[in-house]
Every structure is written in C-alpha cells, then in structure tokens.
C-alpha cells in the first residue's frame, strides 16, 4: 500500500507541469461552476445580496418559504403552462423537420443546387436571436410584409397582431425556431445518410423499390440510431427549448406586455424577479424548481439512451 502511494505521488510529481494545467482548469471550474451550484441553497435561506457569497452560508434558513410563495403566486399556473407548452411544441416541430429536410436534400441530384441549398440553410444558425427578433419585428408587425401579403391575398380582413396577440406567440416562437435551426440540425442527419452504403439502394432498385419505398425502408431505418441520439439530447434540454435551447431568448426578446400571457416562462420570470426586482433568494428557489426537473430529465434521457442507443451522455 505504501509503495503504491509513493509511486502515485511520484507519478504526480513527474507530471507536475501537466497537472498544473489541469488544476488551473479545475480551480476555474470550482469558482465559476461549483460555487454557483452550492449557491442554490440560498433558495432555502433568507439571503441578502449585500452579504456576498459568504452570506449564502451564513444567512438564516427559511425552509420552503419561497417555494410555497411561488406555487401560490397567481402567475404560477401560466408560467408552468407556457414553459411546458413551448417546450413540447418545439419537440413536435423542431425535431422532425430537420429529418424531413435532410431526406429531401438527399433526394436532390443536382449537386450544385444541393450545395447552395445546404450552405444557405445553415446561415441563420449563426445569426443571433437579437437580429432574428429584429427581422421578425419587421416582417410580422402590423404594417409588415406578412400582414400586407395576407391582406392583399384577402386571407385576413385586417392586420394580424402576430407580435402582440397572446394567441399567436407560441406559433411565432416555434416558426422562428424552425426557421433558424432547421438547416443546422440537418447536417447531422445528412451525415448519417451519407454513411449508408450504396449497395442497399442498388439492391432495392433491382428489386423494383420506388423512391418513396427506398426512403422509408432503407434511409430511415439506417439513420434510426442518429435520430434516437438527437431526440435524447433534445429531451435532456426539454425546458430550455429542446434542440436549440431558444426558450429564454425568444421569450425575452419577442415577449412584451401585450403577449405576456403566453410568452412569460419560468426562466424570464427568474430574471425578472431576481435581477430586476432584486429578490435573489426567491428567484433562486423558482429557478431551482426548473433545474430539478431538468436534472431528472437528463438522467431519464441518459438512462433511455443507454438502453436504446447503447451509449449515454455520461
């Protein structure tokens, strides 16, 4: 035992330069990631910001006071509903559409056009939500292009309040999420499709399979494992907004006092009560509820992933 410990220590000393790099990283993580995790206990405490980080540990315990306060808040119901609704809608639309688009792109035989289509479809992924929201304000405002078009074609009588009507926010958010991220997530599915051996298709062609049949019986089954992996990643970030995690940015940038009834989510509420109103302990407690649900989802996804795809996230 002693000899082993000595070699362990000797080895450590031998690699001290490398260990120094590692420790620089680990200390950084302790400060910027681990300490905030411990900071979560302030959700159970009567915390005052002026006491700084130390105050997290020294302030009075108040138990579940803030949790009870949030659950009985009049906004509770709508915050939970909006968070869940936006997340689920994004899974329903933002997840399958890249797969369909990938199948479609794969069927294009004009290589130049295919390349142009792909290149352009990734572009919005790299543009920030601030700019996308600005563009959305241009297009969907009362006098914007979309409303002009709808009225010219006599689809609607008057302008539609896409940005102000609470009934339109979910649709708008999901549409913009798909618009921005569809091309990007297509990459991963297209790469999987490219990996499928040509032999399958040739054999199917000889057997007289139609193109639709080839897609349905060869392409889709062959990329099944990729689909499962991406779906699991999406589930792990369900309440962040799935694939692209866009819930917060969308609600913050596109939400306003007029559509608040459907655009307020738990995350924006945390920012509002925490950073704007300065109710740190309460906001932490609210955030913690979502974090706990997310952690459970990550573990469940990981478990399912290990069962279905053979490998998990960790």
């Amino acid at each position: 035992m002693e000899a082993k410990q000595k070699t362990w220590f000797q080895k450590f000393r031998q690699q001290r330069a490398i260990q120094a790099f590692v420790w620089a990283g680990m200390i950084y993580l302790v400060i910027f990631n681990l300490i905030p995790m411990f900071g979560l206990i302030m959700g159970f405490k009567d915390y005052n910001i002026s006491s700084g980080i130390r105050g997290i540990f020294t302030s009075e315990w108040v138990g579940l006071k803030y949790f009870k306060e949030f659950v009985t808040d009049y906004k509770f119901g709508r915050l939970v509903r909006n968070t869940v609704a936006l997340s689920v809608l994004k899974i329903i639309f933002s997840f399958p559409l890249p797969i369909i688009f990938a199948l479609m792109v794969n069927e294009i035989h004009n290589l130049k056009f295919k390349k142009v289509l792909q290149t352009c479809s990734y572009l919005p992924h790299f543009i920030s939500w601030v700019i996308i929201s600005n563009i959305a304000y241009q297009f969907f405002s009362q006098a914007g292009i979309i409303n002009t078009l709808l009225q010219t074609l006599h689809i609607t009588g008057g302008p539609v309040g896409f940005l102000t009507d609470p009934g339109k926010f979910w649709g708008l958010a999901v549409f913009l999420d798909v618009w921005k991220e569809m091309g990007w997530w297509t990459i991963i599915f297209l790469a999987a499709i490219t990996g499928i051996s040509n032999d399958y298709y040739e054999a199917a062609q000889i057997d007289g399979a139609s193109r639709m049949q080839r897609i349905w019986y060869i392409t889709l089954p062959c990329i099944k494992s990729t689909i499962v992996v991406v779906l699991i990643m999406t589930m792990g970030n369900l309440f962040g907004g799935g694939l692209s995690g866009s819930n917060f940015e969308q609600s913050y940038l596109l939400g306003n006092s007029l559509n608040a009834a459907t655009s307020d989510i738990i995350q924006t509420y945390v920012f509002d009560v925490g950073l704007s109103q300065g109710r740190y302990a309460y906001a932490t407690a609210v955030g913690l509820i979502q974090s706990v649900i997310s952690v459970i989802l990550i573990f469940v996804s990981n478990f399912v992933s290990k069962k279905l795809a053979g490998s998990g996230l960790f």
């Binding site: 790099f21 479609m104 792109v105 990734y122």
Partner: protein, 299 residues
C-alpha cells in the same frame, strides 16, 4: 459506384417526375424564405428612413441613400459599441481558445493521475449549473459586474470543447511528445512548438465558434453591465426592440433634421453586425461539420 447508379438510372418514372418537382419547388421556397429576410434588411438599410416607414418596399430601395450608415458611423454610441464588441470578441476568443486548448490537452494524457476524477468533474459542470441568480451573486462577489472582464473571463473554459479537444489530442501519438522531451524541452515548449501547430483544425473550430458566440452575445451586456460606455452592439440592437414594446412604434421615432429613423439606423447596425459572420462563414463551414460530428459521436 455512385456514378454507375446515377447513369444506370433508367427513364424517369412518373413517380420520379412528381417527386422531383415537389422537392425542387419546396427547396426553392425554403431557399427563398431563408434568404429573403436577410436581403430585405440589407436592401432596406440603403433606403431613406422616413420613406421606409411608409412601407411598400420589397425588392429595391425606393430612395437610395447611405445616410443610415453615415448616422451609424457618426454616432459615438454605436461606434463605441462596435469597438467594445470587437474587443471582447478578440480578447475573449484568444483567452478562451488558449485556456480551453491547454486544459483539454492536459486532460488527454493517458497516464494522468486522477484523470477519471477530473473528467467526472468536467462532465458534472457541463450538465449541471446553479442557475443565473447564484451565478450573478458570484460575479458580484468577484467584482466582475459592470466591467469589461465580465465579457471575457467567465466564458473562458468551454466544457463541450474540452471533451472534443481531449478526443482530438488523444489521437496525437505520444512518441511525438517524448522525442521532444528527450531533447530537453519542457511541457509548455512541447505544447507551443509541437502540439499547437498540428492542432490547427481543432483550434480553428474552437476559435470560430467562440468568436461567433462573443460577437452575437447580448446577454451579459444586458444583465451584468450598467455603464453605458461598455455596451455591446447586440445589446444596443436588443434595446431598440425592448424600448419599442409595441412594434409599430419602431417606425415612429424619426430623427430631427435627417431622413433617418431609429429603425433605419438599426437596419444599418444589423447589416454591420451580420457582415463579419458572412465573412467568416466559408471558414466556419469548412470546420463545423467535423466539429459537430465529433460532438455527436461522443454524445
């Protein structure tokens, strides 16, 4: 093989014909829907602001002008924001790439004492966080709030790229390092002279993604900065939306004496903010598929 398949494709059946038509039509619609909004903003930024607010412009500027850009470049507020954004992107990317690469490289050593524990810790930090409020408290305690450092220090270590980088560095043969060490080089020299030159694909990917992230970030300027002179370009663009809660107001605020409006200058700012991304886009494209694939396989 592939060529044979394509040339071997017999007469196009009716099904082929219908499918191709549907696919190409859809593809053109998607292409148009993706590109037109960008074109629209670009085109409208060259139109006189007051005239734009009347609407009805879809394809070409009605009253062509460069005054929106003139206004942008003559306004200290926008110029300063542009400079801050540029600086944070530059400094943030340099620091982020250096630190992340170094840690990822160190963690790639197979005989590293405590390697498993380190990696477990990294993974825990990657998936779990304390949330925004404890994080804010931390930044406050560290006196990072309301300083330029808040842009570049907290995001220095990208955990996702540590896992990718580690896999990348594991692929480098150990003999390469050892030969240099026999010649008496220290670990840092080995890293700088041997590892960095052959890690260009990884570092380029990391730099591009970190850089775009910094350039686009509106979040920390919004929540962690109060000093007006430290605002970033994305923040200012965000502010315009937030101030005009009722979107139709966007057009109303005209500037006295000029033909620009808040909106028309905003459009110029948007174009200026998107241009660098379009510029690095070809490079991004070269690397991102590999970058993303490695991550996907890992996960």
């Amino acid at each position: 093989m592939k060529a044979k398949l394509i040339s071997g494709k017999r007469r196009r059946s009716r099904e082929d014909w219908i499918m191709d038509s549907v696919i190409y039509v859809l593809a053109v619609i998607i292409l148009f829907m993706t590109l037109y909004p960008f074109y629209f903003v670009f085109m409208l930024s060259f139109n006189e602001g007051m005239d734009s607010s009347l609407g009805g412009i879809y394809w070409f500027p009605r009253k062509f002008t460069l005054v929106n850009y003139g206004k942008f470049f003559n306004d200290l507020k926008w110029l300063r924001a542009l400079l801050v954004t540029f600086l944070r992107t530059l400094v943030g990317t340099a620091l982020g790439v250096a630190f992340t690469t170094l840690v990822a490289y160190a963690l790639s050593f197979k005989d590293l004492v405590g390697r498993k524990a380190y990696m477990t810790f990294v993974i825990i930090c990657m998936y779990f966080s304390g949330g925004i409020i404890p994080y804010y408290t931390l930044l406050r305690t560290l006196h990072l709030l309301d300083s330029f450092a808040v842009y570049v220090i907290p995001g220095m270590l990208s955990l996702f790229y540590i896992t990718i980088g580690r896999t990348f560095f594991e692929g480098i043969p150990a003999s390469l390092r050892e030969s240099a060490k026999i010649d008496g080089a220290g670990e840092l020299t080995v890293f700088a002279r041997i590892i960095v030159p052959i890690s260009k694909p990884f570092m380029a990917t990391l730099a591009l993604f970190t850089g775009v992230g910094h350039w686009n970030n509106w979040y920390d300027s919004t929540f962690f900065i109060k000093t007006k002179t430290l605002r970033t370009l994305p923040y200012l663009m965000m502010e315009v939306i937030n101030q005009n809660q009722a979107p139709s107001d966007l057009n109303a605020a005209s500037h006295m004496g000029t033909n620009t409006t808040t909106l028309s200058v905003q459009l110029a700012a948007m174009v200026i903010s998107v241009l660098p991304i379009i510029f690095v886009y070809p490079f991004l494209q070269k690397y991102f598929v590999t970058g993303m694939m490695v991550g996907a396989v890992k996960e």
